[in-house]
């Protein structure tokens, strides 16, 4: 076991875990951030997608040790009030079915929009291709990313 200082959602947390513990389980088990979803544990489904230093990343395939100095954002920290343009667009277009993949989808979409304010279908596909939605909400996800981009442009 070793101690790591993590910066998650703007707060500092000290955790005491083995060095090879995936960040996913640190976030879920140690910090109670259960919005970070387990879907495969091997980087294949995108359910755990969060931000590490502003980029979309997979906490299931990074260790706690790798993450010690990084700035980590989970769905719980995407916005203070749940009103990030992506979250608003997701509600407006009634995207979710079971909702389980959606934190990961929204985090991937938010990271995309942070670097590309006006993504075309190609760019959306590219950024979200590795996020599985077993319920099949893809058409609405695509529309919601475009809607969120518009909200962001309008409010800039």
């Amino acid at each position: 076991m070793a101690r790591y200082l993590l910066r998650v959602n703007g707060e500092r947390h000290e955790v005491d875990v083995e060095a090879d513990t995936p960040l996913l389980w640190v976030l879920r088990d140690e910090l109670g951030l259960t919005g970070v979803k387990y879907g495969c544990g091997v980087g294949l489904c995108g359910a755990c997608t969060s931000h590490v230093d502003g980029q979309a990343a997979r906490p299931c395939v990074r260790t706690a040790a790798d993450s010690a100095r990084a700035r980590i954002t989970t769905i719980e920290g995407l916005s203070r009030d749940g009103d990030h343009p992506v979250q608003r667009a997701w509600r407006e277009l009634d995207v979710a079915q079971c909702g389980y993949c959606q934190p990961g989808q929204m985090m991937a979409a938010a990271a995309l929009l942070a670097r590309d304010p006006d993504p075309d279908d190609e760019a959306i596909s590219e950024a979200l291709r590795d996020n599985v939605c077993r319920c099949g909400t893809y058409p609405r996800i695509r529309a919601a990313v475009r809607r969120a981009a518009r909200i962001m442009r309008e409010e800039r």
Partner: protein, 675 residues
């Protein structure tokens, strides 16, 4: 007017509770199913008896209650009912029945509350009931003004409901039901990551269990050396699970944290015996072919279809949490049937059902898999041993390799073709496996009833031969209809193509002129611009299905050379669409399932075990493959129909026909070996 059996009773300090028996439930006397409650402050709480695994039942309940009580959806607080069949009747989410079973009792319960509140107001004002209306959480009268519900709750609770006529809000006056703008009630908690799914429900101080599962089908542990495992920090216990009492069997490692349990499982040294270490799904397919009758009942054009094993692979892997105490137990589980779990756990522990509390957590998808109970049996066995809460967590590979799969099947279709190229007689010979999770599904008549919904006017016969299932099989969205309709529609498409017939016209000819199916077929043909020839390089497929009390027609447009589906149009007649956005979502979901399974997602068995282990090899569709989906809900005066599974079979048939272009479809997935 409402049945006399409507029950109303005051609970506590003048609260108003309304309960109506669920009609499907044959109970002795009157068991109160409390669906709607108003407290002294006028706050409205509705109980959702069935779990929501993404199909939106919570939203529909909230809409129904808000509609009938003349308030906004946001004014209704939802409570998810725990497992309690004695109180709620069947809580099973299956056969696309949830909304159908709940709509009358829940609307009636809320309408009863409204009528009592209105009556109480009329009595206070000494005016006729007919002059009073309920609106925005208050009863109004043109001259007397308004009384908020909270001022009327006590008086309403004191009324004898048998003396108060109850009327439902007529459909043409709906403000909320049937309107497009309404979204999912849980949208905010979902969008902020705050939904507690089963996997998020481990109580503080609970342990995590991960199970070493049979490395080949049917294997059982022979020798277990857990000395290294027990020495690992964080490991609390190692427990042998014996099938079938404890689920599917294996060796559970209980640890303080998830990662400790996962790592510790790899250190177990287990030898296994029994089972079928050489099992291979290609051999199973050959066995199904060999079991086809020597001769078909008719001769003519013939085509044989092969259908693969499919996994459910819900996004949230199987899990269950149990806290077993000497005098009772609490279970937290994402399930399609909390009531059944209560009964089962009570039996497993020898306790009365009332001592078992089953919390129906939100499910990250279900698709038929969560009607089963194996994961709960595992959690109960573990917690019973250690006396603290234990969450059994399945890894993705556990989930994919120890599922209850959709059965493989082989379909031989034969048609006598008439002068005009239309089929005049047909035969459909099916060889498949039973559903091992429900033994009555080994009856060929039942399999036929589940699968055979051939809607076209072509006489003929369907025969089902059942071979023993070599692995666990279960309910997968649309059950046998997914295989039967896929084969039948693709065969009809081939018949049409050979005769140079228009696929829509062919189907129209074979459907009764005034049928629901013909109506949706015409609608979808119109939406898809069927009368114009397809764009160069594209091909189209069409298919229909009437099942679950609903009708649907689907047209898919694809670019066969690129193996790409461009668009899917669907027209549905679900009777009354209470929540149109939810109706569209279910169709979109079925289209995604169809796309995935037609393009390549299948389960294969090699060397005794399922070869696929995750979304890398069970190749579920991704956003870049996903077509736009256009869903038209056609107006209908048919009764409320089911929907959750309706679109999968015709969507798969239409998509495969479009992708195959001029090549006959011979199975699923297309362009790949089956098995």
């Amino acid at each position: 007017m409402i049945s006399r059996r409507t029950l109303l009773r005051g609970a506590g300090a003048g609260a108003l509770m309304v309960a109506v028996p669920i009609p499907a439930l044959a109970v002795e006397g009157l068991v109160p199913n409390v669906f709607v409650r108003l407290d002294d402050a006028g706050r409205i709480t509705a109980t959702v008896p069935k779990p929501d695994s993404g199909q939106g039942v919570r939203t529909v309940v909230a809409l129904m209650v808000a509609e009938e009580l003349a308030v906004e959806v946001g004014d209704v607080t939802l409570e998810q009912a725990p497992g309690d069949s004695a109180k709620y009747g069947s809580q099973s989410v299956s056969n696309s029945t949830s909304v159908r079973q709940l709509s009358t009792p829940i609307r009636t319960a809320a309408a009863t509350a409204r009528c009592l509140l209105v009556t109480a107001a009329a009595q206070r004002w000494r005016v006729p009931v007919s002059e009073c209306t309920a609106k925005d959480g208050a009863v109004r009268h043109p001259r007397r003004g308004r009384l908020p519900y909270r001022a009327l709750v006590r008086a309403a609770a004191a009324l004898d409901p048998a003396t108060v006529p109850v009327t439902l809000i007529p459909q043409d006056q709906w403000r909320l039901l049937g309107k497009t703008r309404a979204g999912r009630v849980d949208a905010r908690t979902i969008s902020t990551g705050r939904v507690k799914y089963g996997i998020d429900s481990r109580p503080a101080g609970g342990l995590v269990a991960v199970v070493a599962r049979p490395p080949w089908i049917g294997a059982v542990p022979d020798t277990i050396d857990d000395s290294a495992t027990r020495a690992i920090p964080g490991v609390v216990d190692v427990i042998t699970l014996a099938a079938p009492a404890d689920g599917q069997g294996g060796v559970a490692v209980l640890a303080r944290s998830t990662y400790q349990a996962l790592k510790a499982r790899d250190t177990l040294k287990i030898t296994w015996r029994g089972g079928t270490p050489a099992a291979d799904s290609r051999a199973w397919l050959a066995d199904l072919h060999a079991a086809l009758p020597a001769q078909s009942p008719i001769t003519g054009l013939q085509r044989t279809f092969e259908m693969p094993l499919l996994a459910h692979a819900p996004m949230e892997p199987m899990n269950a949490t149990a806290h077993v105490r000497p005098d009772g137990a609490t279970i937290w589980v994402p399930t399609q049937d909390p009531g059944r779990i209560q009964t089962l756990v009570a039996q497993q522990l020898g306790l009365p059902a009332t001592a078992v509390r089953v919390e129906a957590a939100a499910s990250g998808g279900a698709f038929g898999r969560r009607i089963e109970t194996d994961q709960v049996q595992e959690a109960v066995a573990c917690s019973r041993r250690v006396g603290v809460p234990v969450q059994v967590l399945w890894t993705r590979a556990d989930d994919m390799r120890h599922d209850s799969y959709r059965p493989m099947s082989v379909h031989r279709l034969t048609a006598e073709i008439g002068q005009d190229g239309l089929p005049v007689r047909r035969a459909h010979e099916v060889v498949t496996w039973p559903l091992t999770v429900l033994p009555i599904f080994s009856n060929p008549a039942l399999i036929k009833a589940s699968g055979d919904h051939f809607p076209y006017a072509v006489p003929g016969e369907v025969t089902v031969t059942v071979r023993p299932a070599p692995l666990r099989t279960g309910f997968w969205r649309s059950v046998y209809s997914g295989q039967f309709a896929y084969a039948e529609e693709n065969f009809l498409s081939e018949i049409g193509r050979r005769a140079g017939l228009d696929q829509v016209a062919l189907r129209r000819t074979l459907l009764p002129a005034t049928s629901r199916l013909r109506n949706v077929l015409d609608t979808v043909a119109d939406r898809a611009g069927w009368s114009r020839p397809p764009a160069p390089g594209t091909a189209r497929g069409v298919a229909c299905l009437e099942e679950y009390g609903s009708a649907i027609a689907v047209i898919a447009v694809a670019d066969p050379a690129a193996r790409r589906v461009l668009r899917v149009h669907a027209a549905v007649d679900v009777g009354v669409a209470l929540h149109p956005s939810g109706v569209r979502a279910q169709v979109e979901g079925c289209v995604s399932d169809a796309l995935s399974t037609v393009l390549g997602a299948q389960i294969t068995v090699r060397d005794g075990h399922v070869a696929e282990s995750s979304f890398g090899d069970f190749t579920w569709a991704r956003i870049d493959q996903s077509p736009d989906v256009d869903v038209t809900i056609v107006p209908s005066d048919a009764p409320l129909g089911g929907l959750g599974e309706l679109a999968y079979p015709p969507a798969a048939a239409a998509i495969s026909a479009a992708l195959a272009g001029d090549t006959p479809v011979t199975g699923m997935p297309i362009g790949t070996d089956v098995g």
